[in-house]
């Protein structure tokens, strides 16, 4: 193997030097000359009619350039939803208008009402205070279940009863029949708590209009600039894509929240032509809490039917999912396509039925947040499995082993076809690194100190790299799910790669460079990865759903194949050999069985200086583009084991250890993969122990609107994790990669909550919702005692 093959090596990241020396270029660092500043006036009410907006006083305030309200945005359509769900009644979901700026009504605290554009941020903010909005305040409903009750305040005229859709998957009659003959049925009521994503970089945008060619440039904190451009131009503003360039430069974390087309940048692009000056906006953190798309927020009744040996016979799930006040870009597919389809987990449950009702509420929109549907599904499955094992007196590892899928490919009863997996291996390894054997002794020792120890398992599966486009289209997707990559070999042999994936922490500039360098046999330093710019990259669907390597990486691989194929033709000419006899290995084109060869760089030079070149048969240049549409999802899976110690006197949960063994398929850079797992686990543990978005039930005000009230995990809230991997390569992409970005957030909540329930079982507490705060646990223990 060549030294240049770095697949599987923890190469240190190419992008780090700029981040570590303050040279990163984030959207808020972009300052075009003569730019103005936008401030968005937001609704202080959860639900209100707008009687009148008087901006006359504000318009004459110092430094004000322009003020626009919803009425000014003539010819601007509402923000679209990218996935059409068809309900059990055969009707399309309700898609009420999502205006860029409120029109006639506001529907959540933070709903943008007007944009004030001024010379300085302070002037814009001061002027916004002078905008007089006459509100007729209406009753609001923020609770997901309450929104569907009769008599609840009606949020949209076009969505009676606040219902967006009721959708179902699976064979209900078969499930009911299986439950009727079950030896044991486990039933759980589950709340999957609402979360606020909180990338540390707040959302931001800089919109510039150029009169010279009637074009726009938008810098924006986006995970997928091409999707942003497509939605904004084609659906909302009616502009030609050719006239809009969207650049997502360095982006400071996304976790889903930066996938969507938001009102703010849309209004700014529109306004930039009207004011004919660049406009800049950076969210304050309180705006991030109020107006970034939130995640989760499910209320579920789940049942598992088992035979007398603990074999799963059927699963029945009814979920109510919040959409928030408007449908965000991918909101509708999260609690359906990305949720119900995962309810088989790692198990052979033969029949499953899941029914989901999506409700509008007077809250911020809800959309994908790290894991997106799959953490919710895993939580349902793994809480059920844990509870069933506990109720039936079967060991937690044993009940899982009795039900694991072991034969692949495996068709689940909820539409997915798992291509490969090795669930026993991950469970075994996780148990080993968690030292499960030593748990009884540790539990006894803790009991002597008056503490309650618990062990929790979570054997999760996820579906990543959502695909293929035609099947997704049949299920309601309004976009393709492929990825594009261009490999440009420069005349002197350096390679520039243009990828439609976007890195906002994932380290693509290194991982993708490893893929290219290893395939072409050139030094990694000679490979430059370009992402995040519609002006430079052919096309792209961006980064979400752990898809970048499996889908984006494969597009690059396909482009590399084309480069090698063309390189062979050039080399055959140069070496006066038949094309079929040329082999490409370690950066050299060689005539098979001889020592006659041409280096990759020589072939590149010949392509651009085609003096000795088959010009009659071959175009000059060495630059290839490929689009890749996967044939299936990928299915990362693993087992996480959490050990906790609960102090019954305070209700405090201490994580004694957290162990994870994951199967992500082939791994390019183990260091980066491990980092992704750590980050995902931190977010999963955050959900289980700390984080919860709370709106006041009466007023609809966001109560957790700052880091004082919303508990984001800090360094001393978390342990050091023990992580390991096992490999079953994905069978349908050339890298054998499955994706690793979301696994931690998917597996961790159930592992931790199962551990908490295991610990509390000794004192008779049956049910604790996330987050398992000291107050909740202490109260539950007191309730059992008294």
């Amino acid at each position: 193997m060549s030294d240049l093959n770095t697949i599987g090596q923890s190469i240190r990241r190419k992008e780090d030097v700029r981040f570590l020396t303050g040279a990163g270029q984030y959207t808020d660092d972009v300052n075009p000359p003569h730019h103005t500043h936008a401030f968005f006036l937001r609704s202080p009410h959860a639900h209100a009619k707008i009687r009148k907006i008087d901006a006359s006083k504000a318009k004459s305030a110092p430094g004000v350039v322009a003020i626009y309200t919803g009425d000014d945005l003539t010819g601007v359509n509402g923000l679209p939803c990218g996935w059409l769900i068809t309900g059990t009644d055969g009707q399309p979901m309700k898609e009420p208008p999502h205006p860029v700026l409120a029109q006639g009504k506001v529907r959540y605290v933070g709903d943008p009402v007007a944009v004030v554009i001024a010379e300085t941020p302070e002037q814009a903010k001061d002027a916004a205070e002078l905008v007089n909005v006459d509100y007729d305040v209406l009753p609001a409903v923020v609770n997901t279940v309450d929104a569907l009750k009769s008599g609840a305040p009606q949020i949209h005229d076009g969505a009676p009863g606040n219902k967006c859709y009721t959708w179902a998957l699976g064979d209900k009659a078969a499930v009911d029949a299986a439950f009727a003959k079950a030896a044991h049925v486990t039933k759980l009521d589950i709340v999957n708590n609402r979360l606020i994503p909180n990338a540390i970089e707040p959302r931001a945008a800089v919109a510039t209009y150029a009169r010279a060619d009637d074009s726009y440039t938008l810098y924006v904190t986006s995970q997928n600039p091409h999707v942003e451009r497509l939605l904004m131009t084609a659906f909302v503003l009616g502009l030609p894509e050719t006239k809009v360039r969207v650049i997502a430069p360095d982006v400071g974390g996304g976790f889903g929240s930066k996938i969507y087309l938001y009102p703010e940048e849309t209004a700014m692009v529109w306004a930039s032509k009207r004011v004919n000056r660049p406009i800049k906006w950076t969210a304050e953190r309180s705006e991030s809490f109020l107006a970034d798309a939130h995640g989760r927020d499910h209320v579920t009744r789940a049942e598992l039917a088992l035979d007398k040996d603990g074999k799963f016979l059927a699963m029945r799930v009814h979920t109510t999912a919040a959409m928030g006040a408007y449908l965000s870009t991918f909101a509708s597919c999260i609690p359906t396509i990305l949720y119900a389809t995962l309810l088989a987990g790692q198990y052979t449950t033969p029949v499953i039925y899941c029914e989901v009702t999506a409700a509008f509420t007077n809250t911020a929109p809800v959309d994908a947040y790290r894991g997106a549907g799959r953490p919710e599904a895993t939580f349902v499955v793994e809480r059920l499995v844990h509870a069933a094992a506990a109720e039936m007196g079967i060991a937690q590892d044993e009940i899982r082993r009795r039900n694991f899928i072991r034969s692949f490919p495996y068709q689940t009863p909820v539409a997915l076809l798992y291509d490969t997996g090795g669930y026993d291996a991950c469970l075994d390894e996780a148990m080993k690194i968690a030292d499960v054997k030593g748990f009884p002794a540790r539990k006894a020792e803790a009991a002597k100190r008056g503490k309650l120890r618990g062990l929790g398992y979570s054997s999760y599966i996820e579906a990543c790299g959502i695909a293929p486009s035609n099947i997704a289209g049949a299920l309601g997707a309004r976009a393709g799910l492929y990825e594009a990559g261009e490999v440009r070999v420069n005349p002197t042999g350096g390679v520039t790669v243009f990828t439609g994936s976007h890195s906002h922490g994932q380290g693509h500039e290194t991982t993708f460079a490893q893929v290219v360098s290893s395939r072409l046999g050139i030094p990694i330093e000679n490979v430059e990865i370009v992402h995040g710019d519609t002006g430079r990259i052919p096309f792209g669907m961006g980064t979400y759903g752990s898809r970048s390597l499996a889908v984006g990486g494969t597009a690059i691989m396909k482009a590399l194949d084309k480069i090698v194929t063309k390189g062979k033709k050039i080399a055959a000419h140069l070496l006066e050999a038949a094309e079929a006899d040329i082999e490409f290995k370690d950066g050299k084109f060689t005539v098979a069985g001889t020592d006659r060869s041409k280096a990759f760089g020589e072939v590149a030079l010949a392509a651009y200086v085609p003096h000795n070149y088959p010009l009659d048969k071959l175009e000059p240049g060495l630059d290839e583009t490929a689009f890749y549409d996967p044939t299936n999802f990928t299915f990362p899976a693993g087992t996480h084991i959490c050990e906790v110690e609960v102090d019954p006197d305070t209700g405090q949960v201490k994580i004694a250890s957290f162990s994870a063994c994951d199967d992500f398929g082939n791994i390019i850079n183990p260091m980066i993969v491990e980092g992704q797992v750590h980050g995902g686990l931190a977010q999963g543990i955050g959900q289980a122990l700390l984080e919860c978005c709370v709106y006041d039930k009466e007023s609809g005000q966001l109560l957790t609107g700052s880091y004082m009230d919303y508990a984001l995990p800090r360094a001393d809230d978390l342990p050091s994790f023990k992580v390991a991997t096992k490999v079953t390569p994905c069978t349908h992409n050339p890298l054998g990669a499955k994706g690793c970005g979301e696994a931690g957030a998917i597996g961790a909540p159930a592992a931790l909550m199962n551990a908490v329930h295991d610990a509390l079982s000794t004192v008779g507490v049956k049910s604790i919702d996330m987050p398992a705060t000291p107050h909740r646990i202490w109260s539950a223990i007191q309730a059992v005692k008294h």
């Binding site: 923890s10 240190r12 990241r13 992008e15 780090d16 030097v17 700029r18 981040f19 570590l20 020396t21 303050g22 040279a23 990163g24 270029q25 984030y26 808020d28 660092d29 909180n198 990338a199 540390i200 970089e201 707040p202 360095d250 982006v251 400071g252 974390g253 976790f255 950076t282 304050e284 953190r285 309180s286 906002h504 922490g505 994932q506 380290g507 260091m671 980066i672 491990e674 980092g675 750590h678 980050g679 995902g680 686990l681 931190a682 977010q683 700052s706 880091y707 004082m708 984001l712 995990p713 800090r714 360094a715 001393d716 978390l718 050091s720 994790f721 931690g744």
Partner: protein, 156 residues
């Protein structure tokens, strides 16, 4: 109205007249175009804006520019010497102590301050010492590792 300001930033003398309500972080980012210092929360809770004033870590969103008058300010841009990264910067790279990079400048500054005060801090002390800096990407594990490695290098 403006107030005169005279201070040293990354070893260079800086004088300016600023609006008295200007925050130090705004002065650094807007007036000096040192955009490596980031704003993550505006309210002193995330630590992304952490810089060193006379060697001590300070959240630059919690102090007025005028209050830094006469002091020596170091930002992330001022850590490297002769093109070589500070040992703490190098340790963050070596240990993969950063992902999106947004919290990183503040995290590195806090880490340097922590190690200066507690050269032999153990894992728990490092976790407690970095409690004022939020990171949403890394789960902190590799940051802790980086601080340990950076501390060892700073001792040498």
């Amino acid at each position: 109205m403006s107030v005169p300001l005279s201070l040293t930033v990354n070893g260079k003398a800086v004088t300016a007249d600023v609006d008295p309500r200007t925050l130090l972080v705004e002065f650094i980012r807007n007036n000096l175009a040192l955009t490596g210092t980031h704003v993550g929360c505006d309210t002193g809770q995330c630590g992304a804006c952490t810089i060193l004033i006379d060697g001590n870590a300070v959240k630059a969103c919690t102090i007025l520019a005028a209050q830094a008058n006469g002091s020596k300010v170091t930002t992330i841009e001022g850590l490297a010497t002769d093109g070589a990264m500070h040992p703490m910067q190098a340790a963050f790279k070596e240990c993969h102590g950063l992902q999106c990079g947004f919290c990183t400048p503040g995290m590195v500054m806090s880490a340097i301050d922590l190690v200066q005060r507690h050269p032999s801090a153990d894992e728990n002390a490092i976790r407690e010492g970095l409690e004022g800096n939020l990171c949403r990407c890394t789960g902190y594990q590799n940051i802790v590792k980086a601080v340990q490695q950076g501390a060892a290098a700073m001792r040498r």
